[in-house]
């Protein structure tokens, strides 16, 4: 059995080894880009089916951000929405035969967590200033500084390992069952993987909101929730 932890490069572009997750990610990227470009080309005030789904998605993301961060969701909407959408599509790409989801490999999850980690720092500095952001590490007292630093690292690792473990274990279990039992037995497990994949995408996005929100802090100008609260 192949190790789920190692990657073999498919081919090389110059000195750069290209692995399977990268190729799948490219495909997802192109697919999402085309879908977004096509579906948003003719937006109307009276929405069609696709537009309604898109608006529902955007509104839900906004509602989640607003509920969790108590802030105007506009600056965070694209990042959080992209994280959710990409993780969801990547997780569900396991449905296609012969394709391993990119999130089943540590590098993709690490890349996502890295983006969240950097976004946390960037938004924190943007919201509080450099001094204010560094000051948050000394809360509630300076004794907590090492602990807060360690927490930054560990929660990022936790983010990586959570997504990686869930998706990878699903793929791994399906692979084992498939090697043992054959054709139709893994189907319930794959259905379970769909649920797990959706839930993990949601959790990843919500945790990103929580981290960024904690770094950015409470907005002084708290937005009044004009739209209806969208429950999770």
């Amino acid at each position: 059995m192949d190790s789920p932890l190692t990657l073999e490069p498919l081919f090389h572009i110059g000195p750069v080894p290209i692995t399977a997750p990268v190729v799948v990610t490219w495909a997802i990227l192109v697919g999402l880009a085309v879908f977004a470009a096509v579906s948003t080309r003719h937006l109307k005030l009276t929405p069609g089916k696709v537009q309604t789904v898109l608006e529902l998605f955007v509104t839900t993301v906004d509602g989640q951000i607003r509920d969790t961060m108590q802030r105007d969701p506009a600056p965070f909407r694209a990042l959080i929405g992209t994280i959710f959408l990409f993780v969801l599509v990547a997780n569900w790409s396991a449905l296609l035969p012969g394709i391993e989801p990119p999130t089943a490999h540590l590098e993709t999850d690490a890349a996502l967590a890295l983006v969240v980690f950097i976004a946390t720092i960037v938004y924190g500095i943007a919201a509080r200033g450099m001094k204010g952001y560094l000051g948050t590490f000394a809360e509630p007292s300076w004794v907590m500084i090492p602990l807060n630093l360690v927490e930054q690292i560990t929660r990022t690792f936790s983010l990586v390992v959570r997504l990686f473990g869930n998706v990878m274990s699903g793929v791994f279990v399906v692979g084992i069952v498939l090697s043992l039992a054959g054709l139709f037995v893994p189907i319930p497990l794959m259905a379970l993987d769909l649920l797990t994949g959706a839930v993990q995408a949601y959790i990843f996005a919500v945790l990103a909101i929580v981290f960024i929100g904690a770094a950015a802090g409470e907005s002084p100008g708290r937005p009044t929730s004009e739209q209806g609260e969208t429950s999770s």
């Binding site: 190692t6 959570r162 990686f164 473990g165 274990s169 429950s231």
Partner: protein
Amino acid sequence: MTGNIIEIVSILAAAIAVSFGAIGPALAEGRAVAAAMDAIARQPEAAGTLSRTLFVGLAMIETMAIYTLVIALLVLFANPLAG
């Protein structure tokens, strides 16, 4: 033979890690589901919100078991001692 011993120990360690690591999340998930059932019995109209929150919570708890699985797979497939 040293390589074999290390492999045997690794397999044992992976099995122990998964089995014991499954105990805590199993108990936790049981408690979570029981509490959710209790809440739904008290307030059937809140069943939708409760079950959504329950699924997310179960996924978070399950992550603990996943961690042990990751460790077990690390031990099995990426054991630094096995070389």
